[in-house]
Symmetry: C2
Subunit: 202 residues, 2 copies
């Protein structure tokens, strides 16, 4: 398995490469990538060589090939099913965010505990009660759970998702949660984006 | 000015240090930080030395002191006023997200073009019409604009925010927008979090 630091960089490379591809740019050098992304070009070359891509002298890397390669590594060449728990403001925004679908990460089920929300449709998806979580996760082969409930509820919901059989959790609630070692856990925090921006506005 | 790559790491260090502090842990070594964050300890030591903190042999770094230091560098020791345009699902979730306030990044004004939303309150903040953007940005000394409108509207809203006088923009819409060179621009994209998680769930 490759290191966490490399895995964090791959989606960043992918986003940039897709942007180039959309602008019909088919080759790129590690220098150009490094300059745009603020990453050392030697680090980029090292990461890509790790996956067997050494670029070509004078030409650089082939953008479409790299995109496919990185998608395979990130397992984005097959669809990964995702369940979201907490159909509130953030949950609905994420559920409607088309970019997830384009990237083969598909939110296929929504859950909430509010009886006023259960049964309502968000796009094509109905909001389901928590009692249907286990059955739905099995039936739809859901691998990832997204937590968008208030902080005091996050650990309880994490326990429910783990019991239902997900293999990874993306937590948006501003609280540390605990999961078994074999479950992958990431915490999403948009404050870091704002903080980095705050540094630059002088 | 320090490099983009370092500035990106500082909020990550800060979040981790605050977690330690909340658990009453007052010292940390670069090894421990590096292991937890997936960052080379030598890189961490280099970043912190850049700001005059060299740690102490056998002890490591003082957590509360580092927190204050990084906050100063990121200018989080003073409040930065933020305006949000697009009071939809994502916008409301961000507006209610308490962690921003705790971090001295304060969303002080909300704007939308939907007449049904204008005048409604989100927490203590009324949703204002776009016609009040310029006057409000001046009056409240707003430095950052957050864009949470649909993709086709993002560039138009960016132009309005630049004209109103913000110095930085955080764009959530999945589209590349253009701003003048002197305006700082960051794009927030939660797909990278999901993609990195997707890699780990095997
Ligand atoms: N990470 C970030 O950058 C970020 C940004 C914004 C919001 N947030 C966090 O995301 C979370 C959601 O924010 P929001 O504004 O959408 O809140 P919200 O109140 O609009 O939505 C929360 C939803 O969760 C449901 N819920 C509560 N407990 C539940 C449970 N035990 N099981 C199932 N559903 C349950 C509620 O009925 C509600 O629909 C909060 O924790 C907030 O702090 C994080
Ligand atoms: N970056 C990410 O990870 C991420 C995640 C979720 C959503 N998004 C994006 O965030 C944006 C908002 O998503 P949402 O689900 O909250 O959408 P939404 O439709 O609920 O909200 C959009 C709001 O913008 C307002 N609006 C539209 N045009 C406007 C204009 N010209 N001036 C002022 N207000 C205007 C609308 O009236 C509405 O209230 C979308 O672009 C979506 O793709 C990004």
């Amino acid at each position: 398995k490759i290191s966490e630091a490399v895995v964090r960089r791959l989606p960043v490379y992918l986003r940039y490469l897709q942007y180039l591809n959309e602008s019909s740019i088919r080759t790129v050098s590690s220098q150009e990538m490094g300059q745009t992304l603020g990453i050392n070009p030697a680090q980029i070359r090292k990461d890509l060589a790790y996956f067997g891509d050494f670029g070509r002298k004078g030409i650089g890397y082939e953008v479409p090939y790299l995109i496919e390669k990185i998608k395979q590594i990130l397992k984005l060449d097959r669809t990964i099913q995702v369940a979201l728990v907490g159909a509130g403001h953030l949950g609905i925004a994420l559920s409607n965010y088309n970019r997830f679908t384009r990237e083969k990460l598909s939110i296929v089920a929504l859950f909430d505990q509010d009886p006023n929300k259960i049964g309502c449709k968000i796009g094509l998806l109905p909001i389901q009660p928590m009692s249907e979580l286990n059955a739905t996760v099995s039936r739809l082969d859901i691998q990832i759970g997204i937590i968008t409930v208030p902080a005091p509820e996050a650990q309880r919901v994490a326990d429910r998702l783990v019991a239902a059989g997900v293999r990874g959790i993306l937590n948006f609630a501003p609280v540390k949660i605990k999961v078994p070692d074999e479950i992958s856990l990431r915490t999403a925090d948009l404050t870091t984006e704002l903080q980095a921006l705050a540094y630059y506005i002088d």
